[in-house]
């Protein structure tokens, strides 16, 4: 009995995923190497010494914001402004970069106008002054429509423990229509202190 030699070869195994193994191997080697690089030398000879006891504390980021002084002792007329002050203190342990923005408004007694129209005539200005007595109209600083006021980050910086006096000026446009007369606007400012990045 004779056999007939095969005229065709076996099917070769697919090569589609053979690259994975070298890649995984390389990753493992690299990670292990990196971890070894962060450890000790594994020398067998060791010496030890103790330091005095110490405490490690985490830094803190906190601020305290004082009330904004009354700004309705005087009324607004076309082209005039009123001022108020508030204090902000960095009560944490790291320097903070400050940002001030309007977070709420409420318009009342706008009997001849709309809330939007009233807010469209009010401009808020913010500057940092040395004391409340230094706060007056006409100071330079960040400004914008009341409803959209935002100094952006980095308006000013407070070192740990430091405080600042914010001078808030509210102006009524000189060309404001008389229909906004009598309106009362309540507003809130949010002061945000963010850790100064290294």
């Amino acid at each position: 009995m004779t056999s007939t030699p095969r005229t065709t070869g076996r099917h070769r195994a697919p090569r589609r995923h053979r690259w994975i193994w070298p890649t995984v191997t390389a990753l493992v080697v690299a990670v292990v190497t990196a971890m070894l690089g962060t450890g000790g030398t594994y020398a067998l000879w060791n010496g030890t010494a103790s330091t005095s006891a110490s405490t490690v504390r985490s830094a803190t980021a906190t601020i305290t914001t004082g009330p904004l002084s009354a700004m309705n002792a005087a009324v607004l007329g076309p082209g005039t402004g009123v001022t108020g002050t508030f204090t902000v203190q960095n009560t944490g342990s790291i320097p903070l970069s400050m940002r001030v923005a309007t977070t709420s408004t409420k318009v009342s007694y706008a009997t001849n106008s709309t809330t939007t129209a009233v807010l469209g005539e009010l401009i808020l200005r913010l500057s940092v002054v040395g004391s409340t007595a230094d706060c007056r109209t006409g100071l330079s600083g960040a400004s914008g429509r009341l409803a959209a006021f935002d100094t952006g980050s980095g308006s000013f910086t407070l070192a740990a423990g430091a405080s600042a006096v914010g001078c808030v000026e509210m102006d009524l446009d000189a060309d404001a229509p008389q229909s906004v007369a009598g309106a009362v606007t309540d507003f809130a400012l949010t002061v945000t202190g963010t850790q100064v990045s290294a």
Binding site: W19, P22, T23, A26, L27, A30, V31, A34, T38, T60, A61, I63, T64, T65, G66, P67, L68, S69, A70, M71, N72, V75, L76, G77, P78, G79, T80, G84, F86, V88, G92, I94, L96, T103, S104, V118, L122, V168, M170, L172, A174, D175, A176, Q178, A181, G182, A183, V184, T185, D186, F187, A188, L189, T190, V191, T192, G193, T194, Q195, S197
Partner: protein, 297 residues
């Protein structure tokens, strides 16, 4: 994917994982606080008072009128008060034009009397055209202007005019709207002129027209503001005239020049009534280094 490309990918992934895994966390700490306040937009407003007390009938015995007008900023904004005057349609513009006006600011209504001298900051004109009585006023504040109205000799008799004073308070581009206050000015029937006779500058005789009144009616001759100062002796219709010498005209009324003399009926107590029977002018002058008087202006 070629072998070289796969090897390169493996190296890059390794580098990214190792580098990324060794970096620090990137979160920044922050804290917030809130503060709030309120602002009020003011209003304009105006009010006017005193004009209703200015209604007057001018006559030979009422020759001027001095009354205060109070301008008030009734708004919550400081502003400037300005005024205009106008004659109501249908009333006599001629009379309004014939009444001269001088107005000046005073501290209070009580500081405005017939005897008060014209103060600084005065404006003058007629009730047909008077410059603004302008005052800067804080919110809620008032300004008092004293007005003195004097009809001219050409003012038409038996005539009425209705005058409005219009007040506006302005704050920037805002105005209060116009507030009006009105009054009437009247003139009485023309007063008869007296008959005057000269006596060489020594004295004059002033005779009033005869009438149907009882002969024992008493009359007086008056001079000065509102014809309030009696001069000479009171007389009756039996005599029918006054004799006036230069020295009988008080120095505080006049020492020289024309003097208006008004003849009024007196009541039983000897006080003047509002009834004027005649008026006219005499003139004080100097003659032979002495005081003298003559008839006419």
């Amino acid at each position: 994917m070629s072998r070289r490309l796969r090897a390169l990918l493996a190296v890059l992934l390794t580098a990214a994982f190792v580098a990324g895994g060794s970096s620090a966390a990137w979160a920044l700490w922050s804290a917030t606080g809130t503060t709030a306040s309120s602002v009020t937009i003011g209003k304009t407003g105006a009010s006017l008072s005193g004009t209703s007390d200015m209604t007057t009938t001018f006559s030979s015995s009422v020759t001027s009128m001095t009354k205060p007008i109070t301008l008030t900023n009734s708004g919550s904004l400081a502003g400037t008060a300005t005024t205009t005057v106008s004659v109501v349609s249908g009333s006599s513009t001629a009379l309004a034009q014939a009444v001269s006006v001088v107005a000046w600011p005073v501290t209070s209504t009580s500081a405005c009397a017939a005897s008060t001298s014209v103060g600084t900051g005065s404006v003058s004109g007629t009730w047909a055209s008077l410059p603004s009585m302008t005052s800067k006023l804080a919110a809620g504040a008032s300004a008092v202007w004293c007005t003195r109205s004097t009809p001219s000799s050409s003012a038409p008799a038996s005539t009425t005019t209705n005058v409005n004073v219009n007040l506006t308070v302005t704050a920037g581009t805002w105005t209060s709207g116009v507030v009006q206050g009105g009054f009437y000015l009247n003139t009485s029937a023309a007063t008869p002129a007296f008959t005057c006779t000269d006596h060489s500058g020594t004295y004059v005789e002033v005779a009033w027209p005869t009438s149907s009144r009882p002969k024992d009616t008493w009359y007086g001759a008056f001079v000065g503001p509102d014809a309030s100062t009696m001069v000479g002796q009171k007389e009756q219709d039996y005599y029918g005239r006054f004799t006036l010498a230069p020295d009988q005209i008080p120095a505080n009324i006049a020492t020289s020049g024309p003097v208006t003399v008004t003849v009024k009926i007196l009541d039983s107590a000897g006080n003047p009534t509002s009834t004027v029977v005649a008026s006219g002018t005499i003139t004080l002058f100097t003659q032979n280094n002495g005081k003298a008087v003559r008839c006419g202006a």
